[in-house]
């Protein structure tokens, strides 16, 4: 259902008929393929090896023939000159104005150069997100992150300025100082990882003895972890702050490609005007078009020029959802990202995704926000252990909690677990990229 024009950052793009959107995407894919082929030694090498030239890309079937890019290829290409971008770079080094890098969670970080036009593009893609989530000129937005080398909310900051919201940086403040600043300035919105959103609320209650629900926050934008698309985690955050919580997805080497809108469709829209998202069957590699079936997420950013992102294997797994009521024709990924290919694994012969455990843990009010999941082996047998904390005031409820956990986790994951109760606040706390899942098996 089409809403009023000011619902959308770009009503033309966001409500385009799907067939026209596809037509535009194919045109844009051909352009970025040609750009990569002509300007990047990395892409040219890959495409020549596959026997592909720009004129060969005519149809969607041709797109499927384009080799996928993986992080390791970036890493190898960046080991060459010009430092530090090497063969991945598509523009003269002197045109690069922005440097960011990936976190290096899976190995050597990827270095990401942007020209000013690229940076403007980052900002523009974030404007789509902010507008869809109800951010407006009247908002005062707090950014409690480190403003370091990682992309995090950098582009969110610039996009807030572009939509004319007021931005308040909380960069060098500690958690308590950030909370006080948020309260004193009466900020209306902030951006953080789900883990930190919960941590801040906890801090407000414990360190300041205040209820953050009373601070008038209207909306929170989450990124960095899938929590805001997990209904029980989203509810915990919304209950803690008394406001709407929205999800967003992006990556340093890709761009800001997905967002939840105010209609909350149970997933995230893809910005299909600026990105091509392909879901590929986990076994056959063929495109997945029907809703509800898991596929590997492969992403192309159409307009990222200094270091293009063309058919990038994100290692994420997702599924299509149903159309959203907001009027956007941009398709929806149901439940956001379902997990990482390297996290979706077989335990005791059962296909297992750690996201399912978070959904259960966060649905039980007697449990604290933190948990840890360890998979290891006892002899030849897989063992999966859930370490949990009981919430304050629920001490001594281990037995009934574990009975309930066993029931819910069995239903959700078809697995039996070992349980370890830990004192409240003794499990690790994270501000970014929580690492709650550890697979200690050597050969799985």
């Amino acid at each position: 259902m089409l809403q009023s024009v000011d619902t959308y950052w770009n009503p033309f793009m966001e409500t385009m008929p799907l067939d026209k959107l596809k037509e535009m995407q194919l045109t844009k894919f051909k352009k970025i393929f040609k750009w990569g082929y002509e300007h990047s030694r990395l892409y040219r090498g890959m495409y020549e090896e596959a026997g592909l030239r720009p004129d060969d890309i005519k149809t969607w079937d041709d797109v499927l023939k384009v080799p996928m890019l993986e992080k390791d290829k970036y890493r190898k290409a960046q080991a060459k000159q010009p430092w530090p971008y090497g063969d991945a770079l598509c523009v003269p080094l002197e045109e690069v104005t922005e440097y960011h890098q990936t976190s290096g969670t899976t190995g050597q970080p990827i270095y990401v150069p942007d020209t000013w036009q690229d940076w403007e593009w980052w900002t523009e893609s974030w404007c789509y997100i902010l507008w869809a989530q109800g951010f407006r000129e009247t908002d005062r937005v707090f950014l409690p992150f480190g403003y370091n080398n990682f992309i995090a909310y950098w582009a969110g900051h610039y996009a807030c300025e572009k939509i004319s919201a007021e931005v308040v940086s909380g960069a060098l403040l500690n958690t308590e100082e950030r909370l006080l600043k948020m309260k004193d300035l009466r900020v209306t919105a902030f951006m953080a990882t789900p883990t930190y959103v919960l941590g801040l609320a906890d801090g407000a209650r414990k360190k300041l003895n205040m209820d953050p629900k009373e601070w008038g926050i209207k909306r929170i934008l989450c990124a960095g972890e899938p929590g805001a698309s997990i209904p029980t985690t989203k509810k915990r955050m919304e209950d803690a702050w008394g406001c709407d919580v929205f999800d967003h997805i992006g990556a340093t080497e890709i761009g800001a490609w997905g967002f939840e809108c105010t209609s909350k469709p149970g997933g995230m829209h893809i910005n299909e005007g600026l990105f091509l998202i392909e879901l590929l069957d986990l076994e056959t590699g063929q495109p997945v078009e029907e809703p509800g079936k898991l596929g590997k997420v492969v992403i192309t950013a159409f307009d990222k020029m200094a270091q293009p992102c063309i058919r990038y294997d994100s290692k994420d797994v997702a599924m299509w959802g149903e159309p959203c009521q907001c009027g956007r024709t941009f398709r929806v990924l149901k439940g956001g990202i379902q997990g990482r290919i390297d996290h979706i694994t077989k335990v005791k012969g059962v296909l297992f995704s750690p996201v399912a455990v978070e959904e259960v843990v966060r649905s039980m009010p007697q449990l604290g926000d933190e948990y840890e999941l360890i998979v290891d082996k006892v002899g030849d047998i897989d063992r999966i252990t859930l370490k949990y904390e009981l919430a304050p005031g629920c001490e001594g409820q281990e037995k009934e909690t574990e009975t309930e956990l066993a029931r819910l986790l069995r239903l959700k994951t078809n697995l039996n677990y070992e349980y370890e109760s830990h004192p409240y606040e003794s499990l690790p706390r994270y501000q970014v990229k929580a690492k709650r899942f550890k697979d200690l098996r050597n050969n799985h």
Binding site: S4, N10, F12, K20, M24, W116, E120
Partner: protein, 61 residues
Amino acid sequence: MAAQVNLREIANAISNIMQEVDKLKEMGSGIKCVEMNVVRMSAMIKMLELDITDVADVLGA
């Protein structure tokens, strides 16, 4: 709503502005304050091309 807006007319205006900016770039060649501000102007106009012109082209507006 959006249908009342002439998409092609906006796209044409964007194209005209880009041409003027290109002219400015040429005229101010070697003058840093012109060159560097033109880089920023061009980037912003490019975003309008992505937002509007690309859509107008595919919709045949």
